[in-house]
């Protein structure tokens, strides 16, 4: 799968597991799978496919 343009090889992984692998906080991200925004409530049951293109935007504090 492509995560932010980088090839990664995970199998049967949910969005939540992917976020954990990448050390990202599920409450501070915007996740797009094949251009569709995925709601936070679905991170734990949304299983990613090999062909998926995933974009993860992490937000940092400050404003």
């Amino acid at each position: 799968m492509l995560v932010n343009g980088k090839k990664m090889s995970f199998e049967n992984i949910t969005i939540l597991q992917l976020l954990n692998e990448l050390n990202l906080d599920m409450n501070k991200v915007v996740v797009e799978v094949n251009l569709e925004i995925i709601s936070k409530e679905n991170y734990c049951n949304f299983v990613l496919n090999k062909e998926d293109r995933i974009e993860i935007i992490s937000l940092v504090g400050g404003g």
């Binding site: 937000l59 504090g61 404003g63």
Partner: protein, 268 residues
């Protein structure tokens, strides 16, 4: 032919010049503005040109003030800005700066939302003054706007924004500026707008702490309706605080992105 003097329509002879208008209408004016530009050499007027005459130091009436303020707005641009409706979520370092810039260019309508009060620690980067300490930001911002451009229509709400009220708060604007401090609140607003209000544009910011290079703060267009400003990494934390220069660089990237969207410019 028809020209506009201080935004009022007048009829003048063909061959009239900016300075001939000054001589007949306000000989003591020391600034002559022609179609948004201050001129020092006389210029022949064309149909529908705009001329503004200003005497330095003179405090105009409210009606006249609006006309004089808009004389530096570019005709054709200002009409669109005046119709724009923008919501600002959070009135801190980002939000107060975005608000002031948008008010200065004469934005039509602003919906301004924050639950917090102005504290001394805000003054290092937020547009408030000492006199605003202890005031609700939603009240203090009204005072600021009234001093900057009293002709902007505003609505303020003193409320904590979360996913349950975002739609209701911002359903009457076209562009939403994410201007929070807290990264979870940032993510929640962006996700809610993108998922539930896809017809709106969201202009968000992430990464503007410290005194790192100016030039790492960029505007990126991540979706048709999602713009993200900042360096993406410089988080506010102990040893790396938020300060006026970089926060206002980011805020004004946001303000200019709003302006570009209003003007139909789709790219960053």
């Amino acid at each position: 032919m028809e020209v506009f003097l201080n935004e009022k329509s007048i009829v003048v002879n063909k061959g009239s010049t900016a300075f001939s208008i000054k001589r007949s209408f306000k000989p003591d004016a020391d600034i002559v503005i022609h179609n948004g530009f201050i001129i020092s050499k006389d210029i022949l007027l064309k149909e529908h040109d705009r001329v503004t005459l200003i005497k330095r130091g003179e405090i105009p009436s409210k009606d006249e003030l609006e006309a004089l303020m808009s004389s530096r707005h570019t005709p054709g641009v200002h009409e669109k800005i005046k119709k724009a409706r923008v919501g600002i979520a959070g009135l801190g370092g980002l939000g107060s700066n975005v608000t002031v810039s948008l008010a200065r260019i004469g934005i039509g309508y602003l919906k301004l939302v924050d639950f917090d009060v102005v504290e001394p620690s805000n003054l290092n980067r937020q547009q408030y003054f000492i006199k605003h300490l202890g005031m609700k930001k939603s009240e203090a911002i009204k005072d600021l706007i009234s001093q900057v451009n009293p002709f902007v229509k505003i609505e303020t709400k003193d409320i904590y924004i979360d996913k349950n009220n975002i739609e209701e708060l911002f359903n009457n604007v076209d562009i939403i500026v994410e201007a929070f401090d807290n990264p979870k609140a940032k993510a929640e607003l962006i996700n809610t707008v993108l998922k539930k209000m896809p017809e709106k544009k969201v202009v968000a910011a992430s990464g503007m702490a410290g005194y790192f290079s100016n030039n790492t703060i960029v505007t990126r267009k991540l979706r048709d309706n999602f713009y993200l400003i900042g360096d993406g990494i410089s988080e506010a934390k102990p040893g790396c605080g938020l300060m006026a220069p970089r926060v206002s660089i980011a805020a004004n990237h946001q303000a200019n992105t709003v302006l570009r969207i209003i003007m139909g410019e789709k790219d960053v």
